[in-house]
Symmetry: C2
Subunit: 461 residues, 2 copies
């Protein structure tokens, strides 16, 4: 082979062996040192290049480990067969970034910084990192941190009448992850069919569909899902939100609740009770859960913290009946926990200190005022033009608008004012003219002006 | 109906309307007020009970909303048909909890508090909460926070030779979540078959199996997966860890890398390159990635932060070729981001400030010392009894033990000393006598004594 001629750049800070390795790698890749060609001995090359034998050995070792050369015992190093006709990629160099001046994606819609107390949250996070950092040095429990499951079971009992032990609680990053677990458990129970509410929450349906389940949409009336249309004589599951149906806000009356439980018992079926936002009921107490009425282990209770803490927190939970806990325990170690352990521990502390219930009370109060202001503003500016419905719970109301404009156009116009309005048709198969108006994240003092502006824009030709 | 006799407990702190509501609910559920029975008028009951009409109205409204009573216009309130033969659950009251004295599940194995700098991490988290809390008031990007994707693309280019834009990076809570995304994208590419390494990382295989993929195990040799055994003439995917195979530590030489890329190109197939722990190589530089060699868009690059930050952090990422990015963008809004937004932002800042690369350097140095101490200790106490392999990368070595004891027993004995040892048979179909010994989380100064004790225990009759 040609002699190796290499001028080391001793001022570059790059170790000599790396410089030699880079040089040889390029020569081999370029075909200047060809397949099977013998490389100089360690001693000879060290002498030629005026460096130590160790430097040569380290470079050869790196080439060896990456396969650019082979070593033959008692003989030396030989260039490998690289076998490439690929060319290297065009020049590429991602720009450095300055966090302080980074153009963060701004919120698409108005938001209310008073809706969550980040000071207390930060206090809890800091305490976890100061006093319990050792807990972060091993992985999270696939079922969720026990201390948080404990707090959740206490909270659910006192606020929602849910009766469960921490052992029945499963924590995951969002309803979709819980649905993945559920789908796996339900398969083992030979359940392959899920009935869902129409209109209803969509993402869950995608997961079940992906996992090979059959889905049927059942209409929801003002008093909840149409029980008579549920499948009989086969085990199945029905997904309902009886205490605050999304998006209609319908509440299932007690008589229908017992009939639904009866349906599940008679058909060996289960009820997936999504209790999303049910704490946010502004007149009277929140409606107690279906789970609290269940004596047969037919109800899975689902809840989340995104509306009652801050939207970016991704902690959801479900309460399984004991026979489903047994199945979950057999499979849980096959699947990772997706929830941040740090945030789980911080949330457990946040709940233990009573900050969580204080925050809910504050939110309920704030949102009730927002709702009132919203309704008053629609009355004042909307008049006959806009009719609001569902006015006692959740974070949104439904409105009908008397206009020739399409619901899509109305939503787009709202977006130009940073107001979040969604077409009802996104949650229902049939055409629907209603819109869902989210008032929760608009700061209270901006609601009146925002709605005035919105109505003007919608009325404009 | 019988007259309503109720002694209000005015000292209990419970509002009067709630006390009345509770009383009436129990009477209706117990059947003492029966279906269709008319309740007293607001005025009459208010007078009888000596409370305000508003109190009665609030109680009736709560019963109405929950369906215990019905209202007939111009007539009044009537008890509903409850239709229940269920009995209420036995008494239940979860105990309160004291975070400071909570019996947290302790680490099963030894751990090293020096492996991560929580002070700097806390600083980044606090900065995010102090200066960017508004970003937490809306949901996380399903693809991952752009600022973190930017930092990841920069880091991967400089440390692993991966060439990508932030747009090609997808963030999720763990490899399992990434695999869920991958499975959905691959379906749209009509890929239904995945070849995996034997032995190899298992959880990913469960996900593909759950999603209906066919899996084939292909043996791994000292120089990587057996390319000749991969399927031809159909589009498929192969999952490899060419730079640090788990658990063997095998490195795929450059020639085989090009042959693998060639296989993918010729068969319209893709390569899933898991680059797990590849930064942790203790002699020479880390081996560059397969993605960096790819010019045809056949490589998906997968990485994670759990070994280089702290084990409980659940942030993983993948780099998709552009044609797969296009497919991902069509489906991404159907699926939630599972990663904590708070931690994503904190990590982006941690990387931007250079803490991440400092930490990796520190870790590499620390782990290299641990590895050396581990090998020395096995030499000193293990002698002919224990033979170590794979001694240049990762967080573990493979050991063979000359003993009649089963590998399961050896692992259990190690666990009694809080030392993490796993049987190789957990990752391979055939019987395997080797064990995987994790040295990374044992504090450096404890390694010698721990191994001495372990060898004594294993040798004991």
């Amino acid at each position: 082979m040609k002699p190796i001629i290499l001028d080391f750049d001793r001022s570059s800070g790059s170790p000599l062996y790396i410089q030699l390795y880079d040089y040889l790698r390029k020569e081999i890749t370029a075909g200047n040192i060809t397949d099977g060609e013998k490389l100089p001995s360690l001693r000879a090359l060290a002498k030629n290049l005026d460096v130590s034998i160790t430097t040569i050995e380290m470079a050869y070792n790196q080439l060896l480990v990456e396969g650019y050369v082979k070593s033959k015992p008692q003989s030396g190093y030989y260039a490998s067969d690289i076998n490439t006709d690929s060319e290297s990629k065009p020049g590429f160099s991602p720009a450095p970034l300055d966090f302080n001046n980074y153009p963060f994606t701004k919120a698409k819609y108005k938001y209310d910084t008073r809706s969550f107390d980040f000071v207390k949250w930060k206090k809890c996070l800091a305490k976890v990192l100061n006093e319990h950092a050792d807990l972060l040095l091993f992985e999270s429990n696939p079922q969720g941190e026990k201390v948080l499951r404990h707090e959740i079971s206490r909270y659910l009992y006192s606020s929602r009448g849910v009766k469960c032990t921490p052992d029945q609680v499963v924590i995951a990053a969002g309803t979709q992850q819980l649905t993945n677990h559920l789908a796996r458990i339900m398969r083992k129970m030979n359940i392959r069919h899920v009935s869902t509410e129409e209109p209803g929450y969509m993402p869950l349906q995608n997961i079940f569909r992906d996992m090979g389940f059959t889905l049927t949409k059942i209409p929801v009336y003002h008093d909840g899902i149409h029980i008579e249309k549920l499948p009989v004589n086969i085990p199945s599951a029905v997904y309902v939100s009886p205490s605050n149906q999304f998006p209609t806000g319908a509440v299932m009356p007690i008589g229908r609740r017992y009939r639904l439980l009866d349906w599940a018992k008679k058909n060996n079926s289960i009820i997936l009770e999504d209790d999303y936002d049910s704490e946010l009921r502004y007149f009277g107490k929140p409606v107690p859960s279906l789970q609290g009425l269940d004596t047969e282990g037919t109800v899975v209770y689902l809840g989340s913290f995104s509306s009652t803490l801050f939207p970016a927190i991704k902690i959801s939970y479900m309460v399984l009946p004991n026979h489903m806990v047994d199945i979950f325990k057999k499979i849980k170690n096959d699947y990772d926990q997706t929830c941040s352990k740090e945030e789980q521990l911080a949330l457990a502390m946040f709940m233990e200190k009573g900050y969580y219930t204080t925050n809910i009370k504050k939110l309920r109060n704030l949102y009730a005022q927002k709702l009132q202001t919203t309704l008053a503003a629609f009355g004042k500016y909307g008049d006959d033009f806009i009719t609001p419905q569902n006015t006692s719970s959740g974070i949104n109301i439904i409105i009908s608008v008397k206009t020739e404009k399409s619901t899509e156009l109305l939503c787009k116009l709202a977006e130009t004012l940073s107001i979040r309005v969604m077409p009802m048709s996104a949650f229902i198969q049939e055409d629907a003219a209603e819109l869902i108006f989210y008032y929760n994240q608009i700061p209270l003092e901006e609601i009146d002006a925002a709605i005035k502006e919105l109505v003007l824009l919608w009325k404009k030709q």
